[in-house]
């Protein structure tokens, strides 16, 4: 199997260093404004500082995948004597909360690591070094989707929309 190079991008969050200033939220939302920096609004930020000041919790969390439904339970974690809700470190844009959604439209937000920049904007502006960016390349096997994987997908589309609709769509798309 052929080897390909894959870029692995990591932000190390040192929550112990976070001073809770929320500059990351401001700069993320400013960078993603159109045109860039023309406005800012921390509620649109793809990084959010989950805060419980008296409990000594300042936790930077990045927006991840959108989810249609919330978790069945709400587990709690106790670490170093601090109680965290499972949601505190969850990256999902989820119906259970307002986090990681555009405040006006409600559309989900997802961190794009500021693709195209030298480093993510939140990292660049975190002057207390709570966020550290690393980039490394790894050689991985090139994977091609197998026929069976494709068929699983087709099968679910067929179940959802019916065979005829699916065939019509394939026919129409192949004419383009």
């Amino acid at each position: 199997m052929a080897k390909i190079k894959k870029k692995i991008r990591t932000i190390t969050v040192n929550a112990d260093k976070c001073n809770g200033c929320r500059t990351c939220e401001i700069m993320c939302s400013a960078f993603h404004a159109v045109p860039p920096y023309s406005s800012n609004n921390p509620a649109r930020s793809r990084i959010q500082i989950v805060t419980n000041r008296l409990e000594d919790i300042w936790l930077p969390v990045f927006a991840g995948e959108y989810t249609e439904s919330e978790c069945m339970g709400r587990n709690k974690y106790i670490m170093d004597g601090k109680e965290y809700s499972e949601c505190d470190s969850c990256r999902a844009s989820c119906p259970a909360r307002d986090l990681f959604k555009e405040p006006d439209s409600g559309l989900p937000l997802k961190c794009d690591m500021c693709d195209g920049e030298d480093e993510p904007i939140c990292v660049k502006w975190c002057l207390v070094d709570a966020l550290i960016y690393e980039e490394r390349e790894e050689e991985v096997d090139e994977e091609k989707p197998s026929v069976s994987e494709m068929e699983i997908g087709l099968e679910s589309l067929m179940k959802k929309h019916g065979l005829q609709k699916l065939l019509d769509s394939v026919a129409r798309l192949s004419e383009k």
Binding site: N19, C21, Y37, S39, R53, L54, L127
Partner: protein
């Protein structure tokens, strides 16, 4: 489209429950910028001088600054304005924290309260939805406790809440407004809030704040950021540790308190303990601080860590900053810093100013020791120093017994108690308790700052000029090197010429003319900060700060789209300063009120002091009584103010 500002005020009539969102005139920003500036204009227009602190017509205004909510670092201060129950003048305690930006994101530049609510309420602002909510269940709750209770009740973990504690509810004149790790403390904002029966204001905002010229703005920000890095890595040499960096004095971080404990006065601003800081104290205080401070924290959008989460022994957690850790311990003559952390926790929940309140308690102890207050007044009070302070604090915030008298502050309490108590009121200016400092020789700069500023608090005036002359020429040359913050190169020579002793030393140097220019510059920078919502810890209160007269116009122009140069900016804040002065002249402030306490310095120079004041007034464009002249007011487009002052007989026609 409005840039930097939201363009709306929120008007709340507490008597009727009517709430209105009112669009503001864009011209206001051009004339007064925002923050303190536009708030002064509001009070001038709407609150006539007859209105007293606890009259329904006294407006209580919570204001953002022009740059709050923009990406600029450290613009996070809220300015609260009202007629003070203590000084009787228009005052403006400020708080950092997270409130102002959230209010801007909710779409408002100011919240204006008028009249009084019949029942305890809190205001909940959630963008366009604003509600007056019942707060009867919060009555008696602590100021910090209330913030979390409200966030929970609203299910809004990101709401920012400003609240009062028991002291504000009981209209204690030193009651503060607490919010996150900050508070608007001086001169009784909490009391006015309590008088209006507002327990708290909660705000959640998710709207955009716009910049007019983003690329230009970010370019200036780049320079500011580089400079912050530089200053954090290069502390100023030859000054006290706590003054060497930027940010508010880093007293949650630094444990060395030799300077404060030996130079500030203990008790009722009474005793300097020059040999206090022994190795033993150093070890015990360091241990106490490292044990109490859980984490260093910042305000909104600020890279510094001036505050701390504090977990004292045997007391609940709270947040603190700056000098508060020392004020109660020093006022009570307690050598154990653990006491400082513990009583500050209770004081924070009660919501009282940690500068003036300890002095009121120390004043009461002195009166008791002098036999002016008696066992009857102190019935039930423990006899140990620590217990006595806790007991007195409890009485004051509840206005029980002697606490009711003390709750009006030293000035009024002394006059109510009588029987010689007035002589113990030796550290107030314009009826307000000052920092407990008693020094040797009159200092011309401090003389002017203490006497004339409307803030009535030295920490909001001083900052950028060294507190004393450097002993060696080498130190002076070092200090003046790399000092682009100065308004003019000539200032450098004044540092070089300034000697600790001899002809060119205090009280005669800086000369009245030079002193006027230095003080005016420092005051102007504070006034720019207060209009922009900038923390003076990152600007006018520290040596060589990131923001100054040369980069401010660039930032403000890029943010707002106004084309403002240095002269234009100076004119605006000068206008604000003179409008504020005229307002307080209408409230009766004149030359007679402008003097530091008689014992502030041992060596006084009455003639020189008069000359200083006259020179400074003249420099400011004020007449002999400290009232802006018509000529000055007209130069600042404040002809209507001159008309008003003349109509009231405060400015005599033609006399200037």
């Amino acid at each position: 489209m409005r840039y930097a500002e939201a363009g709306y005020y929120l008007e709340v009539d507490l008597a009727t429950g009517n709430i209105e969102r009112v669009a503001t005139d864009p011209k206001l920003m051009e004339l007064h910028l925002g923050g303190l500036g536009t708030s002064i204009k509001l009070h001038w227009d709407r609150v006539p001088p007859e209105v007293k602190a606890f009259d329904p017509e006294n407006l209580l205004v919570f204001s953002t600054g022009l740059l709050n909510g923009t990406p600029v670092f450290s613009a996070n201060r809220s300015v609260v304005t009202f007629v003070s129950p203590q000084s009787g003048t228009l005052v403006y305690p400020m708080m950092g924290g997270f409130f102002a930006a959230e209010l801007k994101y909710a779409g408002y530049d100011k919240v204006i309260f008028r009249n009084k609510s019949p029942d305890w309420i809190y205001l909940y602002i959630n963008n366009d939805k604003v509600e007056i909510r019942d707060a009867s269940h919060l009555q008696g709750k602590g100021a910090l406790e209330t913030q979390d209770l409200i966030r929970k009740e609203l299910n809004q973990p990101k709401a920012q809440v400003a609240a009062i504690g028991l002291a504000g509810e009981n209209r204690v004149f030193t009651a503060s407004i607490e919010q996150s790790r900050s508070s608007a403390s001086r001169l009784g904002g909490g009391a006015v809030m309590g008088d209006k029966k507002i327990k708290a204001i909660a705000v959640r905002g998710t709207k955009d704040v716009y910049l007019a010229r983003p690329e230009e703005f970010m370019e200036v920000m780049k320079g500011v950021t580089e400079y912050i890095h530089f200053r954090n890595n290069n502390p100023i040499q030859d000054v006290m540790t706590i003054m060497s960096g930027i940010g508010s004095p880093q007293e949650m971080k630094h444990t060395d308190e030799k300077w404060h404990t030996e130079n500030f006065a203990w008790g009722n601003a009474r005793t300097r303990r020059r040999d206090f800081w022994t190795d033993e104290i150093d070890a015990s205080w360091t241990k106490s601080q490292l044990g109490a401070v859980k984490r260093l924290i910042s305000c909104f959008n600020c890279p510094q860590h001036c505050g701390a989460l504090v977990a004292p022994k045997d007391a609940p957690r709270y947040m603190a900053k700056c000098f508060g850790k020392l004020t109660y311990a020093m006022a009570a003559y307690v050598d154990d810093l653990d006491f400082g952390w513990k009583i500050l926790q209770r004081a924070t929940e009660y919501g009282v100013d940690s500068f003036s309140t300890p002095q009121i308690l120390a004043f009461a102890v002195e009166l008791y020791e002098a036999g002016i207050l008696t066992d009857k007044d102190f019935a039930g009070c423990p006899s140990d120093k620590e217990g006595r302070f806790f007991w007195l604090l409890d009485r004051v915030v509840r206005r029980e017994g002697i606490g009711d008298v003390l709750a009006d502050g030293v000035y009024f309490a002394a006059r109510k108690i009588g029987n010689g108590a007035e002589a113990f009121d030796h550290n107030t200016i314009k009826k307000h308790e000052q920092l407990p400092i008693k020094l040797g020789t009159m200092d011309p700069l401090y003389y002017l700052m203490l006497s004339t500023n409307e803030k009535i608090s030295i920490t909001q005036m001083e900052g950028q000029w060294p507190q004393s002359a450097f002993p060696t020429m080498e130190q002076r040359e070092n200090f003046v090197r790399d000092w682009p913050q100065l308004p003019d190169e000539k200032f450098k020579q004044w540092v070089l010429d300034w000697e600790p002793r001899g002809e060119k030393s205090i009280p005669y140097y800086p000369t009245p003319d030079i002193a006027s220019e230095i003080v005016d510059w420092m005051e102007m920078m504070h006034n720019i900060d207060d209009a922009c919502g900038m923390c003076c810890g990152m600007s006018s209160f520290c040596f060589k700060p990131p923001y100054h007269i040369h980069n401010y116009p660039l930032l403000i122009s890029a943010a707002t789209g106004m084309d403002l140069d240095e002269a234009g900016l100076k004119k605006i804040v000068n206008r604000n300063r003179n409008l504020h002065r005229a307002y307080n002249n209408r409230k009766g402030i004149t030359r007679a009120d402008e003097k530091p306490p008689a014992d502030h310095w041992k060596k006084r120079f009455p003639e020189l002091e008069e000359e200083l004041l006259s020179t400074y007034y003249k420099f400011k464009g004020w007449n002999h009584d400290g009232i802006p002249t018509r000529e000055k007011l007209e130069e600042l487009d404040l002809g209507y103010v001159a008309d008003d002052l003349e109509k009231r007989g405060i400015l005599k026609n033609g006399q200037n």
